[in-house]
């Protein structure tokens, strides 16, 4: 089943929609937002210069830092009276990246999520157990309203409370599980304590997983653990949230809803657009969003695109499951973390810059983060209680500012491994 006929439109028809919407978006940001107007002027262009899709390359990139610099609403292109929803992701020094939606944007979001559900074979008869976190993150509510749009029954379970979640899944007859792949495995592991025949107590048929990079091996493990089909969804709050692209039953690649999101693959070093099929950084321009349209957003995600139509009947460009990052961002249980953010939090908590190292590991199926902090002369004290207090304070600060549950471990000076004189900031043992 295909939700919208546009998903199987001809390349020409798709490109015609894209060009028209790109021109509208360029006019919108140029007219309504000084940040974009200035950027266009720096390059000596106006929206009228966008005559073909190739002209997109003449437009400036937008980076996460631009959103931060205009915190909270500086890049919005509608008055606040028109904004109906705010979401945000974690940021440095407590300042998050903020995104906003007007009523039209909410419709776009629900539309693309309806496509995701339909692609996953989910409809009115289904019960969607939504274990993505509800709140400022886009995961919970994005999956929620998309499910309502296709007429399914949604159970807004949110995160945590594994045993209770399993009970609800059994008692309410969930047929669809929406959560991070690592949480799905964790659920399966706990469910399996009831015995190897535990699957007979559940009615799950498909899982819609996302929010963290996932190896092919892990996908197979999740699918096998629950005996379900695996659908992968991709998205980011700056673009809309979940619902930028999704995999179907015919291919591991993800159909990208390019009538709403115009993708490019660039060389992250040079910014040059790469030919079809090559791996590089994914850059997305929103084509229909009004409150926060974004021109050429640098996602930092490494992938490749192919336009060849899919066996499922869809013609939209397909992206490879994310293979890595162009920067040093880590994804921990679905939460994005930059080492620089950790550094800021530690410096703010203690008033001094401390040497640190982030160690990401798997504990069972969940990510576990340990942060080693060197006890320098500045914070050294004779008092065990004070040191323990410092440790706990950094830990609480990381949770409050970055929403990550990390175990902070105090270590002796010069414990942290150096490479060419520079401290190694991240050790990712999960791969």
């Amino acid at each position: 089943m295909i939700w919208n006929t546009v998903e199987s439109a001809s390349r020409e028809a798709i490109e015609a929609i894209q060009l028209k919407r790109l021109q509208e978006t360029a006019r919108r940001v140029y007219a309504l937002n000084p940040f974009y107007k200035e950027k266009f002027e720096e390059r000596g262009i106006t929206p009228e210069d966008i005559r073909s899709l190739e002209d997109l390359q003449r437009l400036p990139f937008t980076r996460k830092q631009d959103l931060r610099n205009h915190y909270p609403f500086g890049l919005f292109c509608v008055p606040m009276s028109e904004v109906v929803r705010i979401h945000s992701s974690s940021g440095t020094t407590g300042k998050p990246t903020v995104v906003g939606y007007n009523a039209h944007d909410m419709e776009v979001w629900n539309e693309v999520m309806a496509r995701v559900y339909t692609m996953s074979g989910v409809g009115a008869e289904d019960v969607v157990h939504n274990a993505y976190g509800y709140g400022l993150f886009t995961g919970g509510l994005g999956f929620h309203y998309g499910a309502e749009k296709v007429g399914a029954t949604v159970v807004p379970a949110s995160g945590g409370f594994t045993d209770r979640q399993l009970m609800l899944m059994r008692d309410f007859g969930a047929t669809v599980l929406a959560c991070t792949p690592s949480f799905a495995l964790h659920l399966a592991e706990v469910a399996a304590k009831a015995g190897s025949e535990f699957r007979k107590d559940y009615k799950l048929k498909v899982g819609i997983f996302g929010a963290e990079p996932t190896s092919e091996g892990l996908k197979k493990e999740v699918a096998k653990a629950w005996g379900i089909e695996y659908r992968e969804v991709y998205g980011l709050s700056e673009i809309i949230g979940p619902g930028v692209s999704c995999s179907c039953s015919h291919s591991d690649r993800l159909h990208l809803f390019e009538d709403h999101f115009l993708p490019e693959i660039i060389d992250p070093e040079t910014g040059e657009v790469l030919p079809e099929g090559e791996r590089g950084e994914l850059v997305i321009t929103t084509l229909s969003k009004q409150a926060l349209p974004i021109i050429r957003y640098r996602t930092g995600d490494i992938t490749s695109l192919v336009k060849e139509p899919c066996g499922c009947g869809r013609t939209m460009v397909r992206m490879e499951s994310i293979v890595g990052r162009a920067d040093d961002m880590l994804i921990v249980n679905g939460v994005n973390v930059y080492p620089s953010q950790v550094e800021h939090v530690i410096a703010n908590a203690e008033g001094v810059t401390l040497n640190y190292q982030i160690i990401a590991e798997k504990k069972g199926h969940l990510d576990k983060l340990e942060i080693m902090v060197e006890v320098s002369e500045e914070i050294m004290t004779d008092n065990v209680g004070e040191l323990e207090h410092i440790r706990k304070e950094i830990q609480a600060s990381l949770l409050n500012n970055l929403y990550i549950n990390a175990n902070v471990k105090l270590v002796e000076p010069n414990t942290i491994e150096r490479s060419m004189g520079k401290a190694v900031r991240v050790v990712d043992k999960r791969r």
Partner: protein, 140 residues
Amino acid sequence: MSKSVKQLSVFLENKVGRLGEVTGILAKAGIRIRSIELVEAGDFGILRLIVAETERAKELLEAGGFSVKVSPVIAVEIAHESGCFNRIVSLLAAEGINIQYAYTCHGGPLGIFILKTDRVEMLRAVEVLESDGVKVLDAV
């Protein structure tokens, strides 16, 4: 500054061999350890030392990659007989002075107690003890 002796505190991870590195550095430099106390708190601990040459020991340990803090503590001489420590504790308690930690130091015929109070109460603690005839040391 009231009458006190200097104590070294060294941050140690709770790992095999770390303590040996500290004592190794001191032994190699020929610095005598007068007293030693190790406090652990989960993954880490603090090693408290009273040594013959505090400043030199600090420099050597820092050069060896350790975080070291020097702080004053009260050292009192006591006889090897029952009730001695109780007398000191009672004197301070009567004045409302809290002892954060205490350990012992052996040297010669008499024993030595090392006491740590709040820094602001140290002067008063020494006065209280001395006025009752307790011998407070400025070197051990």
